[in-house]
Amino acid sequence: MPKETLYLKLERNVELMQEEIRMKDLGRFACRDEKILNRVKVLLVARFDPKKDGGRKVISVMYLIKKLTKEFPDLEVQSIGETEVVAERVCTPKRKNGWVFLKICVVSGICFFGAAFTIMAFHNDISIIRVFDRIYTLVTGQKSDSVTVLEISYSIGLALGIIVFFNHIGGRRITRDPTPIEVEMRVYEDQVNSALTETADREGKTLDAD
């Protein structure tokens, strides 16, 4: 009988509700033999221990392979995904809605007032009113009365630039591309993930084969 091959593709990061970590939580599996596949999927990998790991475990693919070959000596395992997976336990909070709403409000407030402050500080920095006054006098030969076509068109241009840059207005996308902050968010998540795996590795906390 030829050896069965199990293909496994680990995720980079998974969030679990329950205490046990089973194989099927960590990635995707494919195998010709349905029976083996089902047994593999429910295989217990580890348990979260709040005191020791703080609800986060970094698991190496080597550990999984060791575990699988111990359970199924005839199985050949092919890993085609990540080499480490970060499993995090998320407890479903009871006061969810109010708390999340509060956090959203605070972050929105920081973004709103922070952006307002930044642009005002920038305008103050470059003395924009004096620059506009000078340009107005230069072009028209008259004195500027603080709000001229220059100020208004500048504001319109600023709004246009932002909308094109961020690619959405009033909750609606202009094109299907992800917005710059969505892209930055993915980059940030990737960096956090690799920092987590590398720290766990350095501290020897990764679940790994010897």
Binding site: C111, F112, M120, M185, V192
Partner: protein, 163 residues
């Protein structure tokens, strides 16, 4: 007329380029993803972006229109909320200013450290002086130093003379 059209084109182009520049700086330090990541509200990034857009536009309005955008003067002048408008508006505006101060302060504080981090100053320093522990103390000292600097700046009225 020609002059006005010219000014309009000039102002519009200036606005578009300035927004690109300002937002590139804001984005490349990655503040918003960090806020969203810390609070686990990445699903609402859209909202945060809109807030940045709205905030920039209102800040732009306030600083560009200058004396023409003095909301408080106008409200008190019109007695918009009855005869007690002046007292009422004073209370409302101090709450608004308090909110503005706290949120803008948080934003600038994060921005300052995020820029420092972009230049890898903290990792480089820890490597050079070769310490493994005490990073928390260092970050705390940076925060306290910023606080002290800010208090001295406003307390001793450095803004009047420049340092």
């Amino acid at each position: 007329m020609g002059g006005q059209i010219f000014l309009g084109v000039l102002g519009g182009s200036a606005g578009i380029l300035v927004s690109a520049g300002v937002f590139t700086v804001l984005l490349s330090v990655g503040l918003v993803p960090r806020f969203a990541g810390k609070t686990h509200t990445a699903r609402h990034i859209f909202l945060y972006e809109e807030m940045i857009v709205l905030g920039t536009l209102s800040g732009d309005g306030l600083s560009i229109l200058g004396t023409k955008a003095q909301l408080g003067d106008w409200i008190c002048g019109q007695l918009l909320f009855g005869p007690d408008t002046v007292q009422l508006w004073r209370a409302v505006s101090s709450v608004l200013l308090g909110l503005f101060g706290v949120f803008a302060g948080v934003f600038v504080g994060c921005l300052a450290l995020a820029i420092a981090e972009m230049l890898d100053s903290i990792p480089i320093l820890t490597r050079r002086i070769g310490f493994r522990h005490g990073l928390g103390v260092m970050v705390l000292s940076v925060a306290l130093g910023k606080l002290a600097g800010s208090l001295i700046y406003f307390g001793l009225r450095f803004y009047e003379t420049g340092i």
